[in-house]
């Protein structure tokens, strides 16, 4: 062997979660190709077990980081810190929940099983690489792994044209966003001579830019922000969201809204706070504007929709605005509240959005077409427990106390006020009142609307076991964190530091 090739030393424990998922995905594809079809639920259960195994390893890893400290591994390509570990746990947990809720969706829609799960695992793998990436190129690899799997997943309902359409839309627009992102990396590389996130920070700290000299750097940062803002769907890069969320199979939508957002926000936080802490005065105003636009436009447009999936798509834009507020707060020198608030919001919102979309998926009934508000009419009479769970999710999204959603909002408002960004805090709170109208509309439809002619002819809403598990777990989490949030806040605090 030629001794000029330097193999990096590998920290095996650190990448075990990635290896497990990769192996699981391979196994899934090989078995699906070589054996006769299994009962559909088995694939889902297999994915859940895979995800749970990952969660266990990640908890070991969390513990390990606490003992040995955080580190950058494999030639500084991945940061293994509490931030990574918490994001990974969130992603793996979301993967498990979404797989469960997909199981009965596929049965109801008579769709094939195994590939969807392989794609989920692939997307989760990409998302995990994104959150850990300490190198722009690795980050881009993760981003593409996530995105391409999501494009296919969005189009995975083969008999629904809406699904095909949403996959194509997402693909074309997402391709543009990736191109912007890649161009941004190139410009940053041109300025600093490195793609490594932590080394980039060192270079920028030592470099003295004369007036006008940093145009290339600023252009690079702007392009990176465009790419990431598209992925997290904040205004004005949100136009794909309602169409794609509405058209994609409902479980896939919940996957996009949970895993997709966690990964993109984690990457955004790492780039902005690790690589560009010296330029906070340049990017913070941009983030401020994006945050305010998102909470206001997202809430306002959500209210006028008539389709529940579209409503929730716009409400997810508004939630993304709230998370951006946390990043804005973290962009103040010496801030300690912003980043924990972002993590807290991401974890809470992931569970919330999966629970909500699982109920929507059940109400949409066969054909995945009944997501219009009218289809929720009378749910309170027909399925009181399901309607009650949905009410909990909606109240949590509206930020009502004793639900996790309030804790998430409180954390963000707290971090904004701690940095004296009172304006953004008040704008966001008022916008959340506007958004409350939308959640009230769904609740009115479920509980208070009078039945109309033809309601009886509709298919009954069936709650299969797997969906029941997802909804129950999400409800318990939502209420538990709402009443006893201390442990999650502490975890988010611990996780709010970067390696490298």
């Amino acid at each position: 062997m030629n001794d000029t090739v330097q193999y990096p030393s590998i920290d095996w424990l650190a990448i075990t979660p990635l290896i497990i998922l990769l192996a699981g995905m391979m196994l899934n594809l090989v078995l699906a190709a070589l054996t006769r079809p299994w009962p559909r639920a088995w694939y889902a259960l297999g994915t859940v077990e895979l995800a749970l195994a990952t969660v266990i390893v990640e908890m070991v890893l969390w513990n390990d980081i606490g003992r040995d400290g955080s580190r950058v591994v494999i030639n500084d390509a991945l940061s293994i810190d509490h931030f990574t570990a918490l994001s990974w746990i969130a992603i793996a947990a979301a993967l498990a929940l979404v797989s469960l809720s997909t199981a009965d969706y596929l049965r109801r829609e008579q769709l094939d099983g195994p590939e969807v799960y392989a794609l989920y695992i692939c997307a989760a793998l990409g998302a995990m690489i994104m959150t850990a990436a300490n190198d722009m190129v690795v980050l881009f690899l993760g981003l593409e792994t996530l995105s391409i799997a999501l494009y296919v997943l969005a189009a995975s309902h083969r008999r629904r044209t809406e699904s095909q359409e949403s996959g194509l839309k997402y693909f074309i627009l997402g391709g543009f966003a990736s191109a912007f992102f890649l161009y941004g990396i190139a410009l940053l590389y041109g300025t600093t001579g490195t793609t490594n996130v932590s080394r980039m920070a060192d270079v920028l700290r030592d470099e003295v830019f004369l007036k006008g000299d940093d145009a290339m750097l600023l252009a690079g940062v702007a392009l990176l922000l465009v790419g990431l803002a598209f992925k997290v769907a904040v205004v004005p890069f949100h136009f794909w969201t309602p169409d794609v969320y509405q058209g994609a199979p409902t479980p896939v939508t919940s996957f996009m809204a949970s895993v997709g957002k966690v990964a993109a926000f984690a990457a955004m936080a790492r780039i902005l706070l690790v690589a560009l802490p010296t330029r906070i005065d340049d990017w913070r105003p941009v983030v401020w504007v994006l945050a305010v636009l998102s909470v206001v436009v997202g809430s306002a447009l959500a209210v006028v929709q008539t389709d529940v999936k579209r409503m929730l798509a716009y409400s997810s834009i508004s939630h993304a605005g709230f998370i951006m507020m946390g990043i804005e707060a973290a962009g103040h020198a010496g801030d300690e509240d912003g980043l924990p608030a972002v993590l807290l919001y991401l974890v809470i919102y992931s569970v919330l959005v999966i629970g909500t979309f699982t109920v929507v998926s059940l109400v949409s009934r066969t054909g995945d077409s009944g997501s219009d508000l009218g289809w929720f009419r009378g749910l309170g009479r027909q399925r009181p427990a399901l309607a009650l769970a949905m009410t909990v999710f909606l109240l949590a999204q509206a930020g009502m106390p004793t639900t996790s959603g309030f804790i998430a909002k409180f954390g963000v408002i707290n971090s904004a006020a701690a940095n004296e960004s009172y304006a953004i805090a008040i704008i966001a709170m008022v916008a959340s009142v506007i958004a409350a109208v939308l959640y009230l509309r769904i609740m009115v439809s479920m509980w208070l609307s009078d039945p109309e002619v033809g309601d009886d002819l509709r298919e009954k809403v069936v709650v299969p076991v797997t969906a029941n598990v997802v909804i129950t777990l999400s409800t318990i989490f939502t209420l538990l964190v709402g009443v006893f949030p201390g442990w999650l806040i502490d975890a988010a605090r611990t996780a709010a530091s970067f390696a490298g």
Binding site: T402, F406, A417, M429, V430, V433, A436, L448, F484
Partner: protein
């Protein structure tokens, strides 16, 4: 000082029980079998009666003459944010808690939801837990939690069991209050963050912040207004009152009684407990704004009530006027006026609660609330008319009944420090007589026509529900001393704090020194 901690700390947490019993009851009713509706109702009744009994026990063992918080229960809750489970009761909140405890069982017995009784009772008990928590919380975060959670059951009660326009009214109620809360949440967070430098740690504890933190005058003013806007919506102060007539009119009878009886008091109570106590300087400097709005509310509410064709809407507008009196008392900054305001909170809860019950009974019998369609009820239902008469006179503020004592104290206290506002406000008493007596005359006097001649007399159960109300109306009117003795020390401590912080000097009390207040009726 108001906050001399834990004059009586008990080994077992009574106040926590007051919150938990209805909460547990609410969950139990939800899981009770729907095949046995009477069993569900029994659970709800037992839990609410038990809560009321605990409330009365607190009243009985309350140390009279103490100004600090009693029965304090204080625990760490979310320590990473400095949030604690801190409950306590003093003279200002005591009777509101008791009123809450008494009103709920009466409402459960006295009002019939007609459908989905199980869910109705569960929401009602959850509402009780929220209201109790709001009155007992001594932690800003905890208070906000309860203050906000109250919206949800009330929203569903109005929306689910109300009249024609119920969804519109419920949504309006929800959104109005939530806008106010949005400002208050930012205010609460900012208060805690600014107090952090003085306290050395993050804390949302009301007492700690009030004693330990100093806010610059301009900051204090902003924070005060952030709180005040939430309470002003809740009270409701003119011009933020427009949600109230809709919510009251569309709500089921139980909803209206609770809304008028205790929910509106969250606003006036909040102004005292959080506005004046935390930011005495800002409250004092801006008192003209609130006095003016209160007086406009008194006149506006009275004039609007006079115009109403719907009996329930009339009572709703009379609430706007009465709540104006309470705010007038609060911002007069004399111990008499503030004590009168606190007492008026209870009086209004009792008398307007009873009025809503009576209007509900009229609707049950006649399926209309239009004044024009009712006539000569006194002839066919004399006992009913007599009960209505007593309650109405209490609402007008006739001497000898409870309404007089509160309004008298507010006006006499207000006259010293806010003379012209008190003078204009006093005309509200006359206007109240005008609209209520006129309504009474149209509804009860004259010869009943055909539809009204079959109006049923008061039944025993209805009479038993009304009896406690009428008893309280007469008792508090004739002998208000026990009540004032418990309210007054806490109010005086609050005024002392305002004097201490701002250098303001409250005038010496005229009637409350030694002589018994309210006995000069004639």
């Amino acid at each position: 000082m108001l906050a001399s901690e834990a004059t009586r700390s008990l080994p077992y947490p009574v106040l926590t029980l007051l919150v938990l019993i209805p909460l547990v009851g609410s969950i139990l009713t939800l899981f009770a079998s729907s095949r046995r509706p009477e069993f569900t109702k029994l659970i709800a009744l037992v839990t609410s009666v038990f809560t009321g009994a605990v409330g009365l026990w607190v009243l009985a063992s309350f140390e009279t003459g103490e100004d600090g918080f009693q029965f304090v229960s204080k625990h760490e809750w979310i320590s990473s944010w400095g949030i604690g489970w801190h409950l306590g009761i003093d003279g200002i909140s005591l009777f509101l808690v008791v009123l809450t405890g008494v009103l709920f069982p009466l409402v459960i017995v006295g009002c019939d939801p007609h459908h989905d009784e199980k869910r109705y009772l569960a929401w009602l008990l959850l509402l009780e837990a929220g209201v109790m928590g709001s009155f007992l919380s001594l932690d800003l975060f905890l208070f906000f939690l309860f203050f906000e959670i109250v919206l949800v059951p009330m929203y569903f009660l109005i929306g689910g069991w109300g009249y024609d326009q119920r969804i519109y009214a419920a949504t309006k109620f929800f959104l109005y209050t939530m806008v106010g809360s949005a400002f208050m949440l930012v205010g609460i967070v900012t208060t805690a963050l600014l107090a952090r430098s003085d306290l050395g740690r993050m804390s949302f504890d009301l007492v700690e912040i009030a004693e330990g933190a100093n806010f610059a005058a301009s900051t204090g003013r902003w924070l005060f207004f952030a709180f005040a806007i939430a309470f002003a919506v809740k009270v409701p102060l003119f011009p933020l009152h427009t949600w109230l007539p809709d919510a009251h009119t569309q709500a089921p009878t139980a909803g209206s009684v609770i809304l008028a009886g205790v929910l509106l008091k969250l606003g006036t109570y909040g102004l005292l407990r959080f506005g004046v106590y935390l930011f005495p300087e800002a409250a004092l400097r801006n008192r003209e704004i609130f006095l003016t709005l209160a007086v406009i509310g008194i006149i506006w509410g009275a004039v609007a009530a006079t115009m109403q064709k719907d009996l329930k809407r009339l009572v709703a507008y009379s609430s706007v006027a009465h709540l104006g009196f309470i705010v007038l008392g609060t911002f007069a900054f004399t111990s008499e006026a503030v004590s009168g305001g606190v007492m008026q909170m209870i009086n209004h809860g009792v008398s307007t609660g009873a009025l809503f019950l009576l209007v509900g009974m009229i609707y049950e019998r006649r399926h209309t609330r239009q004044i024009a369609e009712l006539k000569g009820l006194q002839k066919v239902a004399p006992i009913f008319a007599a009960a209505f008469m007593v309650v109405m006179l209490s609402s007008i503020g006739v001497p000898g009944l409870n309404g007089f004592v509160g309004e008298f104290l507010v006006l006499i206290g207000g006259f010293q420090t806010a003379r012209w506002w008190a003078v204009v406000g006093a005309t509200g008493v006359i206007l109240a007589a005008l609209y209520l007596l006129w309504a009474y005359q149209r509804v009860f006097h004259g010869e009943p026509d055909e539809t009204n001649s079959s109006f049923r007399e008061l039944r025993l159960r209805e009479g038993l529900v009304l009896l406690p109300f009428i008893g309280l109306i007469v008792f508090c009117g004739v002998y208000p001393k026990p009540m004032l003795d418990r309210i007054e020390p806490s109010v005086r401590a609050l005024i002392d704090r305002v004097e201490e912080v701002t250098g303001y000097v409250a005038p010496t009390p005229v009637v409350m020194e030694e002589s018994e207040p309210g006995t000069g009726e004639g």
